[in-house]
Subunit: 111 residues, 2 copies
DNA sequence: TTTAGTACTTTGTGATACAAGGTATTCAAA
DNA sequence: TTTGAATACCTTGTATCACAAAGTACTAAA
């Protein structure tokens, strides 16, 4: 069995992952492996089997588009780019996130 | 299909719900319907079919215990009480939550 | 005795994170 | 030339979980 701590963290990551991806892509286009690296650096551990389907989902929903680009160090990379629709959804996510942060504060704060 | 906004909010609720329940019960014991009311008041909408299985799961994991109490206004109520183990897990969840909030800030903040 | 209100429970469905394994490209060393 | 390492993308199967919907049961009032 996995440790309780990891379970807790894993549970909380769910639901904000989509938000993280759109946030990262709102700043600059990126390909899957580089997104994983960035998430790892930010302590948001994600594996390939999670990220690839998620990117494909967001592309199918029209939040992202992509283009292929050659690499000097291996196979070509699929660079994802956020769309206008994606930016609109991201803006909604910003609000939703703020609301949840505020809700937790309320639940923990005042008796 | 459900609205995008609701989808976004629903996704984000996942993973913090357990945290909310333990937080509420760390302050005072409560029964399911009253927990739903409190969550609704804090803008964290949850339905019965979500909450009851969750409480049962947390009880089975030893985070909660419960006792029955008669009500003058209907059927008896199942009052849930957080256990020592539950408080330990809640403490871990506090850290995990702070970490995620901080991670999101990092991902959004610095270019 | 029927209805309204309250409270707890279960079943079926869809979504999704993850583990594990697979495919494909490039380059360098044997 | 072919083998292996590194990089990158993709798929399948499983478990978990939020939710909708329907069900059970108790109390009090009409």
């Amino acid at each position: 069995m996995e440790s309780t701590v990891e379970n807790v963290r894993s549970q909380m990551r769910k639901g904000v992952l989509e938000y993280c991806i759109l946030s990262i892509l709102s700043r600059k286009e990126a390909y899957a492996s580089s997104i994983i690296d960035e998430l790892k650096a930010a302590n948001m551990i994600v594996v390939e089997g999670t990220l690839y389907p998620l990117l494909i989902r967001q592309k199918n929903q029209g939040y992202l588009s992509y283009r292929w680009e050659e690499s000097t160090q291996g196979p070509p990379r699929k660079y994802y780019v956020i769309t206008d629709k994606g930016r609109a959804v991201l803006s909604e996510m910003d609000s939703a996130w703020q609301e949840i942060v505020s809700t937790i504060r309320t639940l923990k704060g005042d008796d």
